[in-house]
Structures are given as structure tokens and as C-alpha cells.
């Protein structure tokens, strides 16, 4: 069995002491930032990226991945205990989870979230291991024309999932693509939009963009109204769910896992959509609809499983196509590149130990997360008492140091301020920052493949329509665009996002 051999290879890599240690560190950090409202995985991974440059590539990726899926676990704790989603996908969990906590059933809610997350994480990791190799084989046959169409498709699909209007999301994507053109042109070496500053020749660092848009802008949002935190449910008891609870959890967990695993592959935050969809499904098929919103355990177990499954399968496009589905993945592309590995279909054949090691580490990470989240819940509850006045100076300082250490370039730090301001302004105007970051990372890929495809076809633009895979992807792109822009469907999309909020 090839799969078993691969899994054995993965486990032998992931179980190395250093890798387990950094996996633990990753999920610990991930849980911590997931628990703390106001700091998300994107800003954290951006800050820590420079630190991981000195690690072995597989160790670095294991830790960064751990931060990402660890944050999904941690976010639910905050959502349940203080009705404040620590991570955007945990917003749904807050509905019934916090209602359960107010009824004194916080323990059962936390257990439902953790068990659901664990089951979902485990099953979705298997899905990842099974689905990735065939996809990578298909992707190996892609030429520049196919890649151009694929990147475009990925960018357009990502707006179908973003909140806010499609027009703004589109503008954000292409603004990101535009900002990605700053720096030396890949073919001619001409410096573009650099204002004669040598420091800008290498382009704007994407860590600066991510820290500015997701870190600084978020801090400014939080400083708009500085109220005291809402009361915390501080006593958590009866962690083990009753027989009745266990019976009610099983269905939602499995359905949520399936939904999440499927939706997670989509670019642009499939995990948020997955948790909302799972909640809607559970509510619709439940015999106890009136309980939803007032502490139905199905409303915690389903969405939590869905968002964890999605967090796991969102690695599929990254590992097989080199396309990031989420801003955190976009940062991980950077981690790959720094270590001299081009993310994409070749990773699986050229770096099998890295590929399977990363996948195996996710399963280990999920085990560690259950141990971290259930027995040690008291620690996280205490962490919720850290005042924001300590947190936000820490984020700013660590972000400055981390970004500066990338290349000892002061411009990277100035860029944080600029993108913080730009991001804050745009977010206040109802624009989501995630499409911009995806556009920024994928923009150079788009330009490179466009130009290369045209060189190969001797300047004939019809190559994008005559090659079948490329044509199919472009048709799908147009379809995705039509779906997001059509008012009838858009209204339904808004409904999914705003339901019961």
C-alpha cells in the first residue's frame, strides 16, 4: 500500500523530537492567540515567520501549520466563555456555546467543541492524505496558460466567500495584485514604482502587508470603543458530556466534518463559510429547532467540526497547486520559498518527507490540542484576564522587531504603518482585507504566467481558450463571478453570513 508507506514516512518525520516539540509549540501558541480576542493567526504567523527561517523547512512548516489550526480550537473557548469569537469562524459557536455556558453547561460545550474538532481534524487529515497525490499529478501537467487561469479562478472564488459586496472584494483583489508589481520586473529587471529607493527593489514585503492589514488595522478597530470586557464564566465543571449529549453530538460532528472538508478546499476562508453552513444545516434538520440559539449542543458540535475540517483541507490547494486558500497559507508560501522550495505539485515527489511529515504532524497536533484544551482549560480561562492594554503594545512591538529582522530593512517597518492605515481605512469602508493579501501574493504569479504563456504562444492570446484545462477554468471563473454578482444569489449569501448574528 503506497498510502501506508507514505504515512509511515510522514510519521517517522513528524515524530522526531524537535518536530513534536515545535508542533506542540505551534498548537500552544495557536490556542493562545485563538483564545485572545484581537489577535488572529494571520498576524501571528506573519510575526513569527522570520523566526522560523533558521529552522529546518519541515519543522518551520509544522509549527506554522500548528498555529493555524490551533487557533481554530482556541477561538471556540473564547466564544463559549465570553461570547466573543476569538477567531472569525468561531462566531457561530458563540450563539449556542455561550448560551450553554450561561446555563452552567460550559464544560459540555467546551467538550463538544474539542471532541468535534478532534474527530474532524483527524478525518480531514485522512482526506488530505488521500486527495492530495492525485491532484498533484494533474497539476504537474499544467503549463503557464493553465496556471494563469487557475490563479485567476482562485482569486475570483475567494470573493464569493468574502463578506461585503462583490465589487469591493474584486477591487481589493486587484489592488493587491497591483501592489505586488512594486519592485524589479522579473523579465527585464526594470525597477517599477520604487521612487528610486533601492530598498524597494525587492518589492513590498508581504509580511509588512499582512501585519499592517491584519495586526495594526485590527488594533485600531479594537481601540475605537474601549469598554471593559464582559463577565467571564470562570467556573468550568463537568467536562465529560452526558450520554444524552454524546448521542446528540455524533451526527452533527460527522456532517460538519464532511461539509467542512469539502468547503475548506475553496479559496478565501472556506472555514468561515463551513461553520455557518453547518449551523444552518443542523438547525434545519433538527427536531429541536426551538433550542437553537438557546444552548443546543448540536449548534456547537457541528460548526466546530466543520471549521476544523476546513482548516485541515485548506492545505490541499497549497500543497498540490501552490495556491494559498487563506492569508495564513499565503504566508506559508513565503515560508516554503525562503527555504528554496516552490510550493506546488512538485513538493510531493521532491520533498516526500516534508509533505507527509507535515500531514502526519497535523494528526499529532490534533491529539496535542485535545490534551491542551480539555485538561488545561483553567489556564486558558485565566489567560482571558490579560488586559488588552498589555496585549496591543506587545503586538506592535513584536511585529516591528519580527518584520525588521526579515531583512534589517527599515522600509519594511514603515510599510507596516502605511498598510495599517490603508487597511484600517478600507476595513472601515466595508472592505475585507483578506482578498487584498491573496491578490498581493498571487499577483506576481499571475503576471509571470500571463507573460510566459504569451511568449510560448508567440503573442496569441487565444491560447487561454484553446487549451482545454485553461478554458474550463476560465469558464468556471466567469461562472463564479456571475454567481457572486447576481443579486438573488448575493442576497442568499448575505443571509448565510448574517443569520442569527
Amino acid at each position: 500500500m503506497e498510502l501506508l508507506d507514505n504515512i509511515a514516512l510522514g510519521l517517522s518525520t513528524a515524530l522526531l523530537i524537535t518536530n513534536v516539540l515545535y508542533c506542540f509549540l505551534g498548537v500552544l501558541l495557536g490556542t493562545a492567540i485563538g483564545v485572545l480576542p484581537g489577535i488572529g493567526p494571520t498576524a501571528t504567523v506573519a510575526m513569527l515567520l522570520p523566526i522560523t527561517f533558521s529552522f529546518e523547512p519541515v519543522t518551520a512548516l509544522i509549527m506554522l501549520a500548528g498555529i493555524y489550526y490551533g487557533a481554530q480550537y482556541g477561538g471556540s473557548t473564547t466564544a463559549i466563555l465570553i461570547n466573543l469569537p476569538g477567531e472569525s469562524s468561531a462566531a457561530v459557536t458563540a450563539l449556542d456555546g455561550h448560551a450553554m455556558a450561561r446555563q452552567g453547561r460550559a464544560g459540555a460545550a467546551l467538550a463538544a467543541a474539542a471532541i468535534g474538532s478532534f474527530v474532524a481534524g483527524t478525518l480531514a487529515t485522512v482526506a488530505l492524505a488521500v486527495a492530495a497525490p492525485p491532484l498533484a499529478r494533474v497539476a504537474l501537467r499544467f503549463g503557464p496558460a493553465e496556471y494563469f487561469s487557475l490563479v485567476l479562478f482562485g482569486l475570483i472564488v475567494s470573493i464569493a466567500l468574502a463578506r461585503g459586496t462583490a465589487l469591493k472584494a474584486l477591487a481589493m483583489i486587484f489592488l493587491g495584485v497591483l501592489l505586488g508589481t512594486v519592485g524589479q520586473d522579473i523579465y527585464t529587471g526594470t525597477p517599477r514604482f520604487t521612487f528610486e529607493q533601492r530598498e524597494l527593489y525587492g518589492g513590498i514585503d508581504f509580511v509588512s502587508v499582512a501585519v499592517g492589514m491584519f495586526g495594526v488595522a485590527e488594533i485600531l478597530r479594537n481601540l475605537e470603543n474601549q469598554q471593559t470586557r464582559t463577565a467571564i464564566v470562570s467556573k468550568v465543571k463537568n467536562l465529560w458530556p452526558t450520554r444524552e449529549d454524546r448521542r446528540r453530538m455524533a451526527g452533527p460532528i460527522l456532517r460538519g466534518t464532511g461539509l467542512g472538508a469539502a468547503l475548506g478546499v475553496l479559496p478565501g476562508g472556506g472555514h468561515v463559510l463551513a461553520s455557518f453552513t453547518s449551523y444552518a444545516v443542523e438547525k434545519r434538520i433538527s427536531k429541536r429547532q426551538q433550542e437553537f440559539g438557546h444552548g443546543a449542543i448540536e449548534g456547537v458540535a457541528g460548526p466546530e467540526s466543520a471549521n476544523n475540517a476546513a482548516a485541515q483541507t485548506s492545505f490541499i490547494p497549497l500543497l498540490t497547486l501552490g495556491l494559498p486558500a487563506h492569508p495564513v497559507m499565503a504566508l506559508m508560501v513565503g515560508a516554503f520559498i525562503v527555504h528554496g522550495i516552490t510550493p506546488g505539485p512538485n513538493v510531493i515527489t521532491e520533498e516526500p518527507a516534508l509533505f507527509w511529515g507535515l500531514i502526519a504532524s497535523m494528526w499529532i497536533g490534533n491529539v496535542l490540542l485535545v490534551l491542551l484544551n480539555l485538561p488545561l482549560i483553567g489556564m486558558w480561562v485565566r489567560m482571558l484576564r490579560i488586559p488588552y492594554q498589555v496585549l496591543f503594545p506587545m503586538i506592535i512591538l513584536f511585529a516591528s522587531i519580527g518584520t525588521y529582522s526579515l531583512g534589517f530593512n527599515a522600509y519594511d517597518v514603515y510599510a507596516i504603518a502605511i498598510f495599517g492605515l490603508l487597511g484600517y481605512l478600507l476595513i472601515k469602508c466595508g472592505c475585507e482585507p483578506a482578498p487584498l493579501l491573496l491578490g498581493f501574493v498571487l499577483g506576481p504569479l499571475l503576471e509571470e504566467n500571463l507573460r510566459r504563456a504569451l511568449i510560448i504562444s508567440r503573442g496569441d492570446a487565444s491560447v487561454f481558450f484553446t487549451r482545454p484545462i485553461s478554458a474550463a477554468l476560465l469558464v468556471l471563473t466567469v461562472a463564479a463571478l456571475v454567481i457572486t454578482v447576481l443579486p438573488a444569489i448575493r442576497r442568499r449569501r448575505e443571509m448565510v453570513f448574517t443569520e442569527d448574528e
Partner: protein, 153 residues
């Protein structure tokens, strides 16, 4: 859909027009090339025009049928102080060295919160400087001098 004007929509559209337009103007200064061999200016020109067009669309939509967004208040003090802290860090980390720069950056940042008391601010700044030094310089061997040349060392 109800018809109303939306200030945030117009503002957002304006930002896109401004930035898209700037890139269009900038890219005209570079060689455009032919479809076979696109010059450095071609792709930014194309995308810049697209962003400008989308920005125009957002402005028009904002004037006719805007999105209802509450713009809310802007924490000007936090905006100013945090930008100043970041600029200070970038400007002086080489000259002043890691420790003084971190301390001043942290202290400046604490001023962003209106509810911060001076003593707490000092304590937070001191604690963060120690933590940052331990994590980044001692733990991760970051090669930034602790005290810089501006201080006469």
C-alpha cells in the same frame, strides 16, 4: 433595495481610483512592449485601469444604492501614536540599538489607550522590553546590537 447614499462607499471607491490611477500614470512611464513580449509597464497598466474602473463603479453605486455601513468614530490618538511608534522603530533601531528603541516604541504604543495610567504604561513598556530582549536577542540570536552607536558606545 432601498436607495441611499453611502459615504464609506464613496470614500472606498475614491481610494481605489486614487491608487489605481497612480499606478496607471506610473506604468505609462515604463515600456509597454507588445503582446508577445510584454514590457514592464503593460501588466500594471492593465490592472491599474481595472482597479480604477472598479473604484468608479463603487463610487457610482455608493451614490445610488450604497451599502449601509456605520463608519463610527476614529481613534485619532491611537492612529497617531501607533504610526509614530512604528516610524520611530524603523528610523532608530539601527542607531539607538535594540533596548532603547524597544522601550520607547512600547511606551509610545501604550499611549494609544486613553485608559492607560502612567505607572502602568511604564511597567508594561519595561516588561515588554525585557521580554522582547529575552525572546529575540537571547533566545533567537537576532543580530541587532543591544545599544546602538548614537549612544556613544
Amino acid at each position: 433595495m432601498e436607495r441611499h447614499r453611502s459615504f464609506p462607499d464613496v470614500l472606498a471607491g475614491g481610494v481605489f481610483i486614487l491608487l489605481g490611477g497612480a499606478f496607471v500614470v506610473g506604468s505609462l512611464g515604463y515600456e509597454l512592449g507588445t503582446p508577445l513580449r510584454m514590457g514592464p509597464g503593460a501588466f500594471p497598466l492593465l490592472v491599474g485601469a481595472l482597479v480604477t474602473a472598479l473604484g468608479l463603479g463603487i463610487v457610482v453605486k455608493g451614490l445610488v444604492a450604497g451599502e449601509l455601513i456605520e463608519f463610527g468614530r476614529v481613534p485619532w490618538r491611537a492612529v497617531g501614536v501607533i504610526v509614530a511608534a512604528l516610524l520611530f522603530f524603523g528610523f532608530s533601531v539601527r542607531g539607538l540599538g535594540f533596548v532603547p528603541t524597544s522601550a520607547v516604541t512600547a511606551l509610545l504604543t501604550t499611549l494609544a489607550s486613553e485608559r492607560m495610567r502612567p505607572l502602568t504604561a511604564l511597567a508594561v513598556a519595561a516588561g515588554l522590553t525585557v521580554a522582547a530582549t529575552l525572546i529575540f536577542v537571547v533566545g533567537l540570536q537576532l543580530r541587532i546590537p543591544l545599544w546602538g552607536p548614537w549612544l556613544g558606545f
